[in-house]
Symmetry: C2
Subunit: 271 residues, 2 copies
């Protein structure tokens, strides 16, 4: 499978992806799922991909040269000359549709769904940062202050910590830590998500970044995070009181629900 | 959806279920998903159910009177006279198959999958406690010391805390607390899992229990658990160091993975 997360904060953007792919549990490989596009001083964009690897690789290849033409005589729009991230996301959506036109019928014939899920974010000079999730149909949605992050792939295990921590005001380093904890929880529970990890942190209005790192299981920071998080979670659990039966059974104000009736004979009714 | 968990410990058994069902997010109802069967001094059994409600209700109704006959002249086995939990689970599997025979073709015709997932555990005098997960085909698996719990329904959000805490040596009260934290995490992330909750704790070799409680959002213990867990998780997160970029980028011993190359021009190759 895959796990990728993209986060949009007031201070910047954070992107994190794993690199495990699998065609069945007996066929695991390493493919990196992040691409960074940068024209220093002009634009900075990151693409994260989940889904069928042949589709996402084709989309990535095509995106480099994809051209969107509104009319016959209009200048073609690419991710390199688009004047907004919205237009760049449209170019990406069109690249997805080109792969669909080329492959979907043959995939369907083989019983394979046309499945690709993308996170695409960045900043183009002249506007603020933007973050999109692009679907298999080439349509897309944009992150907002209420929902400042997107996940693709195995999203469930890593979602609770994002919901507890991330707001638009979260500092960049804290968001990077949160993304790594989210990834750690996911890798612990789903074997088809695995290292190395690619992490990118982008500061607003820089139009480039040097904060690109590849994290494997030898990385001292990630090892610290992994062991401390697990150990401290356990300490928190132990610090909570165990239930006391007499208190549990005492009727609480406003409670209308009764404990279940036991069934004690074959002929007894359930309700 | 649904979330149910059954845990087998050396000290006894713990069962917990939610009570929300939904046919689309615009059609939410409350149905309790636990049944307790008890013949004091002789047998104690609990059934938890997830999946299509019409199927699980039919299975529960039929189970009361289901009879398993090995041969024409053999005594029929029911959950009330079975001499082992294994045989009782076989009776349950046969009840599932009876509902399949009656409903599956018509369901398929309407495009509805025959989907039911059951947890069935307890103790019959003469043997130890046993815990089973029963599938839609009526086949089943049994919990072992390495995997002492089963979940059905929305299992992902609540699984990490079970994996961190539960072993066969876990005390009953601690396991009940763990099941409730697991349920709390699930309800926070999936709206289709909801209160009231049914909790049963069974002590080994008692063949009955008085520890049956219905927990709704007025329950003081559950409220304490909910707020303390969230708050302390956040404290643990804050207590972990943020990443420091220079440390992150320093090559670690044994690391072979390089940071991603940036793409800076349309004609640049990805690999």
């Amino acid at each position: 499978m895959t796990y990728c997360v993209g986060i949009k904060l007031n201070a910047g953007l954070v992107f994190l992806s794993d690199s495990r792919t699998n065609a069945g549990v007996d066929n695991i490989s390493t493919f990196r799922k992040m691409i960074v596009y940068e024209k220093p001083g002009d634009r900075f964009m990151v693409l994260l991909s989940a889904g069928n690897l042949s589709i996402s690789q084709s989309v990535r290849e095509i995106l480099q040269v994809e051209q969107l033409k509104e009319r016959e005589d209009s200048e073609p729009v690419t991710i390199w000359n688009a004047t907004s991230m919205f237009d760049a996301a449209r170019v990406l959506g069109q690249a997805v549709r080109h792969v669909y036109d080329r492959d979907a019928a043959a995939l369907k014939y083989s019983g394979v769904e046309f499945n690709v899920n993308l996170i695409f974010g960045g900043q183009i000079r002249g506007e603020g940062m933007r973050l999109f999730q692009v679907y298999s149909a080439g349509n897309f949605i944009e992150a907002t202050p209420e929902t400042p992050y997107f996940q693709v792939g195995e999203y469930k295990y890593g979602k609770p910590v994002l919901d507890r921590v991330i707001t638009p005001d979260t500092p960049l380093e804290e968001a990077a830590k949160c993304a790594l904890v989210s990834m750690d929880s996911t890798m612990k529970s789903n074997l088809s998500v695995g290292p190395p990890l690619d992490l990118v942190v982008y500061e607003a209005n820089r139009f480039e970044t040097e904060q690109i790192v590849c994290i494997d299981m030898q990385n001292p920071y990630f090892r610290m995070l992994h062991s401390s998080w697990g150990q401290k979670l356990r300490e928190v659990f132990d610090s909570l009181d165990d239930p006391v039966w007499d208190d549990m059974k005492a009727p609480a104000g406003g409670s209308i629900n009764k404990p279940l009736k036991k069934i004690t004979r074959p002929e007894e009714k359930l309700i």
